[in-house]
Symmetry: none
Subunit: 422 residues, 2 copies
């Protein structure tokens, strides 16, 4: 692939704090999203520390691979801010004081009673032919510079707020106007529950090799997502590419689908119950409040969620949820009989229309041969409705994972019940 014939973009973030793991690389993520939204994908991200040789080496390498290198970090006033020095050395160009940059930097000290610190003068140094990018929030202007034909460097500060502002006010438009790009990228994410990533992937296997739109699976501990991404000349052509492939996916695995993009299972439950004007309560043992917490993370949940009882001990199950003692003695706290009684108990106590109960063995201790760690019983009760679901998530899982999976599974079960009833 020839560097000359493409708009090959790379991102380089400079900062020893990134190599020490002090912070997550939020700048790379933010710029990635921005690039995708204007149809300029990039192919590589790198991080190096505040080190003159290391920066020179990577800039040299990138100049042979890509046409546009977007650099963040190392533009500050201190002695370990070396980005411009390293770039200038790489292409053996001197740094000169830019009048434009100096005026801008001086204006930042207008309200200061102290003189401009000596070290800030360094921030006005740029290669002669660089175009200065104004920094509305800080003292570190950026630049767009083409040291060799077909290779442009864009420098931005590492402070996220400054970088973002400069991107929005200057860089984005410059890229749109000066860098030819072949249309836009448009993505849509389909969220699934109650299915494993491998099973879902198996069913859409042939689609995963599609070129445009592309289809890619992602999994978190309790959800699976398929992201379809189209490249097209404009928004509406992109939608025209996305729609048929979504239809095909839905035909095959639509029964596991619950929502688009940022929609969560909890959000879906809230909107379903709001539509039905019905309320919900919860009775939790092994999840200890996670189900309630997941629901109450959703703004507006108060119109459907009345509350719940965290019945972590058997006595609480008996005294607060009114589960009969002999039921627990006979069947154990993790049993179809007990979650049924928990669900009915909380529904009655809180006078809700629906209720969810969860009881299980989250581990690491407490497992037996019959009921190992990872074994969970879910009970769902509603108007003239009761159902219990036994699940074994597997003893290899961690406590928190079993709790998360139990919550997701319980919400998904209720979702399916509510949908099938409408």
């Amino acid at each position: 692939m020839s560097r000359q014939n493409h708009n090959l973009v790379e991102i380089l973030c400079i900062g020893t704090e990134l190599l020490l793991g002090n912070i997550k690389n939020g700048n790379a993520q933010w710029i990635s999203k921005e690039l995708a939204s204007i149809g300029l994908p990039h192919f590589r991200q790198s991080v190096v520390g505040d080190n003159l040789e290391k920066i020179q080496l990577i800039v040299k390498e990138s100049s042979k691979r890509c046409n546009i290198l977007i650099i963040t970090g190392g533009l500050g006033p201190t002695s370990d801010d070396l980005t411009k020095e390293a770039i200038a050395l790489t292409f053996q160009e001197p740094l000169l004081q830019s009048k434009e940059a100096l005026i801008e930097i001086k204006s930042k000290f207008k309200y200061s009673s102290n003189p401009i610190p000596e070290c800030n003068y360094k921030q006005a140094l740029f290669p002669y032919s660089a175009k200065i990018i104004s920094n509305p929030c800080g003292t570190a202007p950026g630049m767009i510079w083409e040291p060799i034909p077909n290779f442009k460097i864009i420098t931005l500060p590492g402070v996220p707020m400054e970088m973002k502002q400069m991107w929005k006010e200057s860089v984005k438009n410059w890229l749109k106007e000066n860098v030819y790009n072949e249309g836009i990228f448009k993505s849509r994410t389909l969220n699934f529950s109650g299915v494993s990533e491998s099973l879902l992937s198996e069913k859409v296997k042939d689609l995963l090799t599609n070129k445009n739109p592309t289809v890619a699976p992602y999994a978190s501990s309790s959800l699976v997502k398929l992201r379809i991404t189209a490249k097209a000349k404009d928004n509406s052509s992109a939608q025209d590419l996305l729609d048929p492939i979504e239809k095909e996916i839905m035909k095959r695995v639509g029964n596991y689908f619950f929502g688009y993009n940022e929609e969560s299972l909890a959000k879906k439950i809230v909107s379903l119950l709001v539509d039905r004007k019905e309320t919900l309560s919860t009775a939790e043992s092994c999840t200890g409040g996670s189900l309630g917490a997941t629901l109450t993370s959703i703004p507006g949940v108060s119109s459907i969620f009345l509350g719940g009882i965290i019945a972590y001990s058997n006595l609480t199950k008996e005294n607060v949820l009114n589960v009969q003692k002999n039921l627990i003695e006979k069947h154990g706290a993790v049993s179809s009989e007990v979650v049924k009684a928990m669900a009915e108990g909380v529904k009655k106590q809180l006078s809700s229309d629906w209720s969810i109960a969860i009881s299980g063995i989250a581990g690491p201790l407490g497992g037996t041969k019959d009921k190992p760690v990872g074994f969970v019983q879910i009970g769902i009760s509603g108007p003239n409705f009761i159902k219990t679901i036994p699940i074994n998530f597997g003893s290899h899982r961690k406590r928190i994972e079993i709790q998360e999976l139990s919550v997701a599974r319980a919400l998904n079960e209720l979702r399916i019940i509510l949908i099938n009833q409408t």
Copy 2:
């Protein structure tokens, strides 16, 4: 600098989702911290997408630059998981089925009623001489492989939980035993609660420029940490460097300190109550179960935590917690009077020694001039003890942040009370 004479480490994260900006690169950050903690700094991080040619190119480049390349991502079962294929192609080695890996993968499907999906078999393919890294949580084993002299590749899955577990159980020790390093880095993290990052930093400002040990502040939404890191020839010399600086820090801000390293407020509460042989219950309104969930994330909590009541609606406060209706009408649900009644109500209902109640306005709606979003009341009740604490976390904060801050504050208040009583 010759590659042969050093332990030059690089991190490579593979995943198109990183280039699309779907997620922050938390894996790179986490591994960075781990490497620093065992005295193995790294000099470069890279990200490329799920693309066979691009992965080959960067692996080839890295093999000329470094001795250890740590790769995350692309080990899944789907057709866009290409890491091992690309590595094998780079060094022209075939991938063969590893019996060891296959047994491990099969064990993960033990509880599944479906047969093993065809695509999972691919996860058992490795170069002949690779050492398999067991994956306790998922179906993607990793490997340590030396395709050419003095260049080792370590592959780990991209799912953070799996990656971290494999690192802790296998990779970390392997690195310590097999990779020579020049002295060690030893870190100690001091955890603080009830103080802001800026206030804490101000009080130890002069220490933050220390060279050895270094002192660096980190903040999450509800905690502040100071990490002190010493570089020394061995463990005991490192401790000798760490001790005096810790002593100095404690002299200045020790009153906010609650624990070292991974110790959480919840863990601290559990151990304090276990020692006192006392029990705890919770009554939550705006936190909706998060306090219970935070407590029950700790293994062994069942010996002290009896359960709780999520009283999200006023009716639940009245009917289940026995809060008097006129108290709510007169003072409002977010009041000293009501959290007091909630704390006493749940303590009585669940017969616990201690109880925590939280009621507040998590937003985004529901704020008033007197009680804005971010206003929270905490009540703590114990044997012959009752205390309520009003807090305003500020209306600029997000719902989930207010919930998290409330939980942390409540746990910290109880911690201080318990400690002052001993």
